[in-house]
């Protein structure tokens, strides 16, 4: 029987759609923002589950992995409710403040502890950090191939996969050996909603917590201490914006717009 483990790396993020800016102080107002599963990671989870469904029962195990504060347990439960088999939470104060490098260090250490992991799936980027760097850095740490922006997995077996990636203007299809890591774009699938059975399973699921000690991680190599980059200033962009509303009948509006653009030498 084939045994394949797939690790899906996910992250809890503040839902940015609700962020408002206080016009007086030009600062963000956090009130009412809920923590959510990074939207891009939903596609990674779904793809992991879909790969399992291509095989016979019991041949593939899908494990969700996240690094974050204890409350990140919630998104792991969510992952289980949509079909992930088990989940691991990497949580330790020492992990906090990690840049993409220190994050990939921590994830690599955890993945090295998971025997027989053949494929790692990530979302293409997170909603908060927005870098898309953890995937390729993680793959490099593990010395395995990485395909970013995967839009379709054409074939997969224990040793190889055929995967299509989306570039700005084209698709490229690659064959790579496993183990490997991929990050997925949203047109790879449509994530399912949790089933009742899934919700029950999530409710009772035991989620192990791995800390720095369990990962045999030195405090200097994880979190902010283990990061090569550091945020020195955080600020909201100054909005200096003026709009010219063009009034009149549609014909007059178009005519005035045309004149304005002509003056600006744009047309």
């Amino acid at each position: 029987m084939i045994r394949i483990k797939i690790v899906v790396c996910i992250k809890q993020v503040p839902g940015t759609t609700e962020i408002k800016i206080d016009p007086e102080t030009n600062t963000l107002i956090r009130e009412g923002i809920e923590n959510i599963i990074n939207p891009f990671d939903a596609y990674a989870i779904e793809e992991g589950v879909r790969i399992r469904e291509r095989f016979n029962d019991g041949e593939v195990e899908v494990i969700a992995l996240t690094m974050g504060p204890p409350q990140s347990r919630e998104i792991l439960k969510e992952a289980i409710s949509v079909g992930v088999d088990s989940a691991i939470l990497l949580s330790d104060r020492a992990f906090a403040g990690a840049d993409t490098w220190a994050t990939s260090t921590t994830l690599a250490k955890a993945i090295n502890k998971i025997e027989d992991c053949r494929l790692i799936i990530l979302g293409k980027q997170t909603l908060d950090g927005d870098t898309g760097q953890v995937g390729p850095e993680l793959a490099q740490r593990l010395n395995i191939p990485f395909i970013g922006y995967a839009s379709s997995i054409l074939e997969i077996n224990r040793n190889k996969m055929k995967v299509k990636r989306l570039m700005e203007d084209r698709y490229e299809t690659f064959e790579i050996n496993l183990p490997a890591a991929i990050s997925v774009v949203k047109d790879i699938n449509t994530p399912r909603v949790p089933s009742l059975r899934g919700k029950m399973k999530a409710k009772s699921a035991e989620i192990p917590v791995w800390d720095a000690k369990k990962l045999e991680a030195n405090e200097d190599e994880v979190g902010l201490s283990g990061s090569y980059t550091q945020v020195v200033k955080i600020f909201t962009p100054k909005i200096k914006h003026e709009i010219k509303m063009i009034e009149g009948s549609p014909g007059e509006q178009v005519e005035q717009l045309y004149k304005e653009l002509k003056e600006l030498n744009i047309i």
Partner: protein, 401 residues
Amino acid sequence: MEIKVNEETCTGCSLCKKVCLYDAIEIVDGKAVINENCIFCGACIEVCKLNSIEITGLKEEQKDFSDYSGVCIYLEANGGRIADVGFELVSEGKRLADQLGVKLSAVAIGSSIEKSALEAFQYGLDRLYLIDSPVFSDNLDDIFAKALVQVISRYKPEIFLAGATWFGRTLIPKVAAILKTGLTADCTGLAIDEEKKILLQTRPTFGGNILATIITRNARPQMATVRPHVMEKKKIAKGERDYKDRIEYIKIDESKFKSKYKLLGTEKELNENINITDYDVIVSGGRGLGGSEKFSMLKELAGLLRGVVGASRAAVDSGWISYPHQVGQTGKTVNPKMYIACGISGAIQHLAGMQTSDIIIAINKDPGAPIFKVANYGIVGDIFEVVPMLIKRLKNGKSLV
């Protein structure tokens, strides 16, 4: 390492709690208390008027980086041509190099790219490292990473910049990981700290709602990717001069550059070569368009302006147009000279992908649509009336009034 609140000075004003995006601050007995959700982002430190919050215990090793010097740019090639973002970065690199009083170099890797790469000298380049070999005719991440690492390790630039293209965003993190140094993604602003002579890397996070300035500590080179069209390319020298004496041809042992990736095939999206970030004009359609057939009207307008059609997520999700046209946080970030938003309400994720366009024109029937908050010209009206009239005006050259 920990983050501490000075209880003597904290007044419990809760400003820090308001700005914390991670639910990590509570006010207990009139003082701010930081809990385990904290990710050390520093937003609270920035906002505190009384300087009551600080991160302590961060070990700073004093490493000697004196053997690293100069600014180096990666000139990414696409189909035998250097992508424009490379030249934009040469111009930006020139500014940074001059400020530091150091040399500006670039590295180009590809197949038959010498002629195109030479153009970089017109933007102020001092030296070009050229790796030109048929093994680099396809974008195979691992061998490109290997070649870049060889060049960077040999010439040791203090700053290394690359375009945040989709290839760059997968390739450069690999390079940074091999070199064991930091990398800041998608920068929109770069500056030199005059005193410390280090690179200040500013980038948007949270979909453009926040800007963060980042430094590279304890490692070199200081690496960053920069979004296309953000920096301006400025020609400062003529093309007639023969710059061959400033090229270093790097010979590689091709047998050592065997990729682990096997490229089986390339398909152009919808048989058309569409990369909307390449265009100076984007005419975008959203939910207000109501169907795929209506996009032909936008295509016609885009054609007249020598531009391309873009779309909001709503339009793509409805299946009216394909994903490569999508602008926004889940699609592409664009910075054209002119962006015309037709029937797009302007969700924050969409605005994140286009608000840095030079001129934004919004046409929408709802005067309260958020798109008007970022637009330079606003027309409240029916796109099915306004757009055809604009097409007519551009075609006939005759006044409509």
